[in-house]
Symmetry: C4
């Protein structure tokens, strides 16, 4: 591995925005461990199956990020993690295969300086909202983090599948400043200020989809208002909520 290139990628760790406390020297190691746990939590909660991926930004100018090579998320270990550059290519050569859709991550880290973690998944629960005109809206307080505007990407000239930097740019443009974007007949992408935030939003996005569908079957639905959503995001991402949920999902890994 090219150490100089790696360091250039890792850059100035002082700017990392995650409020989780690590000693400076172990920051990246801490985030890597969290990424492994995040992979397992999202699998355990049914968000990931054999497919899906989550990454975190290496907080430097070049837009590098860390993600696993192509592998079922539940099986990912520290040895499967790689550093990707801002173009979505692995920083060091390897015989390992990278996820075809890594450009979702690279293009979002480039266009969205607020984004510190990205998750792409295909939860069965959200698919109906990608193939119909029914808008996804948060109906329950705890799902307010998904935001109020959730666009659906449905390119005209090719599959809604991000296997090139160009398609990644098109997807990122379509996503705008949203927290969640749907991909028609495919899945969704969730971004956030850290790994735990993205995990939390992904899980409640999935459950909100089911709750919303069941609500719509009963009649006219009162979903959360814009004001409610922005107030709730602050409450939900406060450490006591965010970390309580994280500890719970982590605990389920041990007992299931």
């Amino acid at each position: 591995m090219d150490r100089r290139k790696f360091l250039m990628g890792v850059g100035s760790l002082a700017f990392i925005r995650s409020p989780i406390a690590y000693s400076d020297t172990s920051l990246i190691d801490g985030l890597k461990s969290e990424l492994i746990i995040a992979n397992k939590i999202l699998s355990n909660q049914g968000v990931f199956d054999a497919f899906g991926h989550i990454s975190f930004r290496v907080p430097s100018g070049p837009g590098a990020f860390i993600m696993s090579y192509s592998k079922s998320p539940e099986l990912v270990t520290l040895d499967d993690l790689a550093v990707y550059d801002k173009l979505g290519e692995p920083l060091h050569q390897s015989e390992r295969v990278s996820f075809r859709e890594r450009y979702i991550h690279s293009e979002l880290y480039q266009s969205r300086p607020d984004v510190m973690a990205v998750c792409h998944h295909h939860s069965d629960a959200i698919i109906p909202y990608t193939v119909t005109n029914t808008p996804m809206r948060p109906v329950v307080l705890v799902a307010a983090t998904i935001g109020s505007k959730i666009p659906t990407w449905d390119p005209k000239d090719y599959l809604p599948f991000v296997n090139s930097a160009e398609k990644g740019r098109d997807f990122a443009k379509s996503m705008g400043d949203a927290t969640v974007a749907l991909l028609r007949g495919h899945g969704c992408t969730v971004v956030g200020a850290g790994i735990r935030e993205v995990v939390m939003t992904s899980i409640y996005l999935q459950r909100n989809a089911l709750m919303l569908s069941q609500s719509l079957a009963l009649g006219k639905v009162k979903s959360l208002s814009e004001t409610e959503i922005s107030k709730l995001r602050k409450i939900l991402f406060a450490p006591d909520s965010r970390d309580r949920a994280w500890e719970y999902w982590k605990h389920k890994l041990d007992v299931m």
Copy 2:
């Protein structure tokens, strides 16, 4: 800990209404153990996830109650329990964080002398009934304990989230003498004559919601009549039903 204050809170145990037999000296200890089991049962049955809380009244004038500090219910142990005063504040100082919504409990214990236990949860199954105008009604005998009138609290000026005594009072007023009240886009609160009653009602509330939704999808629904509901409450809360259910759910903790 301030022992005098604690004793004042605990008060005269002779008035406790739960029909479960404990020796007088171990009454509070017995209830605390039941509360731990209740936390685990409600988690195991999918009523609680990372969130939700259950308390029991310390049967004294001051309206004190016992509940865990802020923690995922499934992880709660005896060391996490605290005594709260009638204003919803912890009786002794601690660095531990209390649930923001503890005022649901304090205000209900104050306004409802019949209530010996309170549970607040966000079961996904009940959410659709909080955001639509479809009334929740018991359709199955075993869910008769939820009662016939289930109001929905939807305050105009703030989030349906009880993070102050004032909001707690407003919620309690809206609940009236009901056994179950819904909170719009948030969850519900269940009260009862004891921990086991509240657990039973919470679990069947969740299942009744799903059964009612599935019934409504089929056509016009014949739900239980007022007369049936009041007859059934007596049968269901009789020790043979109530304790058989409790033992079953407790057993599931060991095998799952």
Copy 3:
């Protein structure tokens, strides 16, 4: 225990209709073991929860049957089994509590000489068909055993709850010669030529309910015809199908 009374109840074992092979001397013991397994299978498959009961006929004139005392089915052991007489009363005195609804069993064994086993349960999946006018019909081959006519019992003057011999007679009359009968807002009763048949029908009744509901949501449904149902009942209750299913469900007890 009154041994004479017991023997009178057990009667002439030669007439038992179950095609399962046991040595004559161990017939009752074999059936008791099957009943324990049946209790566990029906719990494991979600048909029973804390409630529900299954019995088999002691093949004699007096109409005696064997069932557990009041206990959650999953927890039943050989020590919990009792012999009931044709009036639904336990043959020997005990401090144990009997199921209130044992008269479902006693009255069916009296009025239906073809019935060798009876199961009463409250599977959530079937409740919608008890509170709406949508008829339950088999849509899938493997559920043909539930039969083509499934009446719903909804007495005018009291709860649809069988806590007396009189109500049992009314229920049995309403059931007629059906294999399955629904009880409004309560559950259902399944009868059959043996324990395994009743278990099989109960499990597929539950799954058929869900499949039928999902089918009805899609449009007009072609359910099985009368001719198909009667042909299929023979195929499904043939030992190779019946016992393959039994062995599978039994196996799930070990691995779950």
Copy 4:
């Protein structure tokens, strides 16, 4: 066992189309091991229950195939596998019972030279599409392998149950060159270029059915186009996708 007959059945292994690498001498053994795992995966993923069967073609002229005797798929071991001839009869005599519906397999291997593996199952999720006129269509990328035309077999003169070679021929004719065919009120049959492909298609067929039903409940559905389906089949059956999914499902066997 008649070894000559066996070898005639096994034929020229050089023509096997599965891209999975085995040493020539262990090819059949490797495929048999995969078949055992496939049985367990399909059970674990809820596609099989006590019923259902999967086979692979012994790649020779005579159209022989390997499948288990009649047994619940989850319990199948190497000792339960038998070689069947092109007429669907076991190549060597045994007291073991064969699946009644083995003619589904024999007739498809005869009429469809492209088919190397066949699976017949009764997943509850797909039944609604067999008894209504709502067409099954892939709505999610990962289910594109089910294809665009999915016929339903509903013979006029007998049960949609393939217990003879004649009925097998009728079914195969009705299936045409499809990857998936439904059997009215019964289940479906899935074919493919190998065991892993058939497992993958079976699992996503089941999940697509649920996603499609949930989508239809929301409104007009945009399913995948013909062009999308044919592009995606190549991507999904490429080893990196196919084997990642296989390894994941295999892993779930160990942890569940």
